[in-house]
Structure formats: C-alpha cells, structure tokens
Symmetry: C2
C-alpha cells in the first residue's frame, strides 16, 4: 500500500472539489471540449480552465488540441490508484474489525496484557 506518493495527494485533491467531480461525471459519458464543459458552470473561463488543469495534472483526464478546440477525456487509470488505496485500506480494516473491542477492554480491564 504505497502511501507517500504525491500522486495520491494529487488524485484525492483533484476529487475534493465538486466542480471537478462534475466534470469527471460529464466526461465519463464521453469526451468534450473545454467550452462544452465550461457551459455547465457559471464561473469565468480562466477559473474553469484551472480546474481542467488540476484534473489533468492528477492524471484523471487527458486532452488533445484539435485546431482551436481542446478535447478532454477521462483517464480512469489514476482513479484506479485512488480506489485501490481505499479498497486495500478497507480490506485491512475488515480483517481487524474486532480489534476495537479488544483494545477498549484494556482500558476497562487493566489486568489484561500491557499495551
């Protein structure tokens, strides 16, 4: 479970904004241009572009320039990284679901083993 990678930081940070999540949802239905994507939001285009850049730097989207148009697509590999981390964490937890009880017993029953 590699954790210290800056990739996870970037992926989760990118997902921590509802504008960007909405863009990803839109892109999950198929590619779109910057202008098409921006229509759904009220913010100024340069502000919106920053969100696109954050997504792309996180590896969650890619884009390709066609003439004067920039076409964005979703790139779910980065999503897998985040999802994988979460799943493995939850897996660990499930294997230890009884640990809480045992641990708390220590504090109620100080005669048990030392922490």
């Amino acid at each position: 479970m590699p954790n210290s990678s800056p990739d996870l930081n970037r992926v989760f940070r990118a997902l921590a904004d509802s504008t960007r999540r909405t863009v990803l949802e839109r892109l999950s239905h198929g590619p779109a241009t910057v202008g098409e994507l921006a229509k759904a939001f009220e913010m100024a285009l340069p502000s919106f572009l920053q969100h696109i850049d954050v997504l792309e730097e996180a590896g969650l989207t890619t884009s390709e320039k066609q003439g004067r148009v920039r076409i964005c697509s979703i790139a779910p590999a980065a999503l897998d990284v985040g999802e994988g981390w979460m799943r493995s964490l939850r897996g660990l937890w499930h294997r230890r679901a009884d640990a809480l009880e045992a641990y708390l017993e220590q504090f109620k029953n100080p005669e048990g083993e030392s922490p």
Copy 2:
C-alpha cells in the same frame, strides 16, 4: 451518483494528505491513542491534532475520550462513500469506452452528425 454533497469534498480532502493517509493505515490495524499515532510523525502535537480533526470531521475516524487519553478508531463508512463514487464513475466510463473514438471522428469527418 450524488456529487454536490459537501461530504465527498471533506472525505477526498482528508485523503489528500499523506500524514492523514498514514494515520488511517495505522488505524486500520486497530485503534490507537493520539499520542501513539503522533509518535510516527515529527510535527508538533497541535499540528498533528489538526490532522486528526480533519479525519474526524470527514467521518473517516471516530474518537472517544478515556480519562486523559483519546482513542481514535477508523470509521470506514465514509470511505465507502468515496469509494462508491469512484466505482460508479468508472462503471459509467467502461460502458462508454468507445465514445472517444466516435467523438474524435466528428472532428476528422465533419460530415457526420453535428455535435
């Protein structure tokens, strides 16, 4: 796929920091006190406490005061929210994996259907 909820913002933001992810990994093996958790990091205790608070506000951990000790545990329900969002997004994408090709054709073959 509820997206606008501030919960997802908080969950993903909380995960966007490697200190906090390390804490979650530690807690996935079982509960621990603030002091035990803090030992693994070099930062000052008040700084570390802020991370604990972020995790708790995101619903990723819970804590319980036992005497002068605060015992933290993982609370994977919030994790499921994030993981669920990611999985459903990826599901959508897989059903549309061929959309990129078709879309790009528009720009190469302007005689196709209008966008």
